[in-house]
């Protein structure tokens, strides 16, 4: 018998069990470890012991914690419980002990009035009374309407300057409480009656971007730390909301449903008869009854829910087309956000779930299965314009049609793209001009403006060193900011533009946009610095009104 076999013979179950923990924690000597493993190969009981002990020290596999709507529900349940379990205030106990009911009742009322607002006594009550928190907004419009009811009605967003929305593209009759909107900025309470021939895109509170299809009638009804709300009377609202954990929940109210969203891409449609249809492309939404908040359906991506009939179907062409201006290719963003300025290129993002849609280059509207009842009057053939190789774009130029309302709000982007074309024409380079013309046609179409960023990005990469192309950075930054809500990338583009052309006639727009990006991104101190810089640089600037609308305290800076 070999020495090693001899050793193994003397290494029994007792020794094996003694050494088990040492071996598992890698603290046993190599020789002991060899003996241990040699023994468990031979001994079935010790092998079982080894497996169990190993599993014990490894621990159980913990299932993933709930996310999205489930997490939100759990949090609210914990909050409710905390209110229920909160100990009764001392004056209640005192009054019980005293046993004088009438006196105790009046004492309690008096006590409530005097002492009930101490820190931590009533979390919910304090939400509205503490001056350092949500009531930061003196703007009565903010949080003017919240449907949570009760103590959660905190009201106000962190800073009042954040509680505005902005028109990004398209046109509509935009009416605020004070009449028709004269700039592209608007507050809570604004109603949009979208024109019959064009859609409209808006950004709300710097947190979400929405596309309203032609003929849509929708009102922005609430903006508080816990709730953003839209009321949809008619038409289709497609919304992309990339919510951070502390951002408010979004609700879309229709005549017969409340759609509650934690973070997702979805559409809500109210038809002529008032019937509501909800479709989800990414994430998950909850559909509630507007009368009692009872859950009607929990909708996963790829599904459409008809509230009237209570039936489910696949997401269809109409919904995908409505949401296309909100497409934001995640794959690009992962490639390196520092250098990415391009937005969507007409492809349906990979993280949108569209049943029946092929993968790869076929992820375009052409290949979305359309139901028989879907109206096919949507612009298709969006995947053809590659652009990078200099091949001419296949998109026919669109002649801009401006309504008086649109002109009243002035689109800086249109000015910039016209200037770019003028400069390029002056340089007499046909190829460059063709390329820019294609981008211009995209920009002028409210249906396809979201794709102008990709086109311009390709234009910049090819002609970026040409002085005439400097403005491309400005325009791309604006589109990046408007459609992707990617403020960091937008600022980088504005900085590049200002660095290349500091004395450019559109430098004022870049400075204004830098300020706007900081406000919408919630960096108020930075926004204030930039606002002061703008006011000192352009004392008669055309954006002063918009800056003072959000920061009235800066009026003194003008003198």
């Amino acid at each position: 018998m070999s020495p090693s076999n001899d050793k193994l013979r003397h290494y029994g179950c007792h020794e094996c069990r003694e050494d088990a923990e040492l071996v598992m924690s890698d603290r046993a000597t190599p020789a002991a470890s060899d003996l241990y493993h040699g023994h468990i190969r031979e001994c079935r009981d010790c092998r079982r012991m080894h497996r169990l002990l190993y599993a014990l020290y490894e621990g159980p596999i913990v299932p993933a914690a709930p996310t999205g709507l489930d997490e939100e529900k759990q949090f609210h349940a914990a909050l409710r419980r905390s209110r229920e379990e909160r100990p009764a205030p001392w004056y209640h106990k005192l009054s019980m002990r005293a046993g004088i009911a009438a006196l105790a009742g009046s004492a309690a009322v008096l006590g409530m009035a005097l002492f009930d607002i101490g820190p931590g006594k009533d979390l919910a009550a304090l939400t509205s009374s503490d001056p350092t928190v949500a009531s930061a907004s003196p703007d009565p419009r903010v949080g003017a309407k919240s449907h949570h009811g009760g103590p959660d009605d905190a009201g106000g967003i962190e800073h009042p300057a954040q509680s505005y929305g902005r028109i990004i593209g398209g046109h509509a009759k935009v009416s605020t409480k004070d009449g028709e909107a004269i700039t592209d900025a608007f507050g809570v309470g604004t109603r949009f009656e979208v024109a019959k021939d064009q859609p409209m895109q808006v950004g709300l509170a710097g947190k979400l971007v929405a596309n309203f299809t032609p003929g849509t009638d929708v009102t922005w009804t609430a903006a508080s730390p816990i709730l953003l709300e839209l009321e949809l009377e008619h038409g289709i609202a497609a919304i992309r909301y990339d919510r951070k954990p502390s951002d408010p929940i979004l609700q879309v109210r229709t005549p017969d449903a409340v759609v509650r969203v934690v973070g997702t891409v979805f559409t809500v449609q109210v038809e002529d008869e008032g019937d509501t249809r909800v479709s989800v492309l990414r994430g998950q939404v909850e559909v509630l009854s507007p009368s009692n908040n009872r859950q009607l359906a929990e909708l996963e991506s790829g599904f459409r829910y008809d509230v009237e009939t209570g039936t489910f179907a696949d997401v269809g062409l109409v919904e995908v087309a409505a949401a296309m201006p909100l497409s934001n290719d995640r794959a690009d963003a992962a490639a390196g956000p520092e250098d990415i300025l391009a937005l969507a290129d007409g492809r349906i993002p990979d993280d949108w779930h569209v049943p029946g849609l092929p993968s790869g280059e076929f992820r375009t509207l052409d290949y979305v299965p359309a139901a028989a009842d879907e109206v096919p009057d949507i612009e298709l053939s969006v995947g053809a314009d590659k652009g990078d190789n200099g091949s001419p774009m296949t998109i026919a130029p669109i002649v801009p049609t401006e309504s008086p309302a649109r002109r009243a709000r002035r689109d800086d982007g249109q000015d910039i793209i016209e200037a770019l074309v003028r400069d390029t024409e002056a340089s007499k380079r046909q190829e460059m001009l063709d390329k820019l013309e294609a981008c211009r046609s995209l920009y002028y179409s409210p249906q396809r403006r979201y794709r102008a960023a990709a086109c311009l990005s390709s234009f910049i990469s090819k002609y970026g060193n040409d002085p005439a192309a400097a403005e491309g950075y400005l325009l791309t930054g604006m589109l990046r900011m408007d459609y992707a809500l990617d403020y960091k990338a937008a600022e980088k583009a504005f900085e590049t533009f200002l660095k290349r052309a500091p004395k450019h006639s559109n430098a004022e727009v870049a400075h204004y946009r830098m300020w706007l990006a900081a406000v919408e991104d919630g960096r108020i101190s930075v926004a204030l610095q930039r606002a002061r810089k703008y006011l000192s640089k352009y004392p008669d600037g055309r954006y002063i009104g918009r800056i003072l609308q959000r920061f009235p305290e800066l009026k003194s800076e003008l003198h």
Binding site: E71, F75, R81, E85, T132, A134, E158, P225, P245, I524
Partner: protein, 217 residues
Amino acid sequence: MSYKLQNQPHDLEAVQRVENIAIAHGQPLSSESVGTDAVTYLSPEERLLIDRAKAGEHRALRQLYGQYHAQVRAHLFRLLGKDCEVDDLTQIVFARAFNALDKFQGNSTLSTWLYRITANTTHNLMRQRFRRERVKSAFGWFSQSAGTDVQPSRVEARDEAHRILQKVRPDLREVFVLYHYEGLTLQEISDILDKPVSTVGDRLTRARKKLRELVSA
């Protein structure tokens, strides 16, 4: 678990939030507004978060929940196993934490404090269950799978291991879970359970010994 704040990277979003609130109220911005104590268990962002949560700010409570609910839930799962009450207990732990925020002095990390609340919340439940299981097994209502000829698969071994863990006395199990699964030090466990380090060490040794006996049985 405890650390010095100088080593912690600043949460820019949190700092920005303080600035925003201060600006909204016309308060001057200063470095003091985000706290600069030399040594503390809490980072300035956490301290700020707790202040806001103490004031009842919904977003702060939500942020606290978002940051720690996975930790609490996972700990409960490791302690109690697959249990339909884990969701319920997670809610109870956070409800208690929200109500006890006023009493939190910052003498430990938030995570340690939540472990302590979890330990207090589950203590009686674990004891009740342990007693019930002991009675059951004494009456022979439970048939053990030990001694079977079939080698358990990896998943089965995990399940079996977890069943074995539930047979260990709650006070020993608690220490074992905190030390081996949560990765806490004896000192931290001592803080959480409010027991001397020597007691914690002793319980850990006894837990290991008991587990060795149970897996060898």
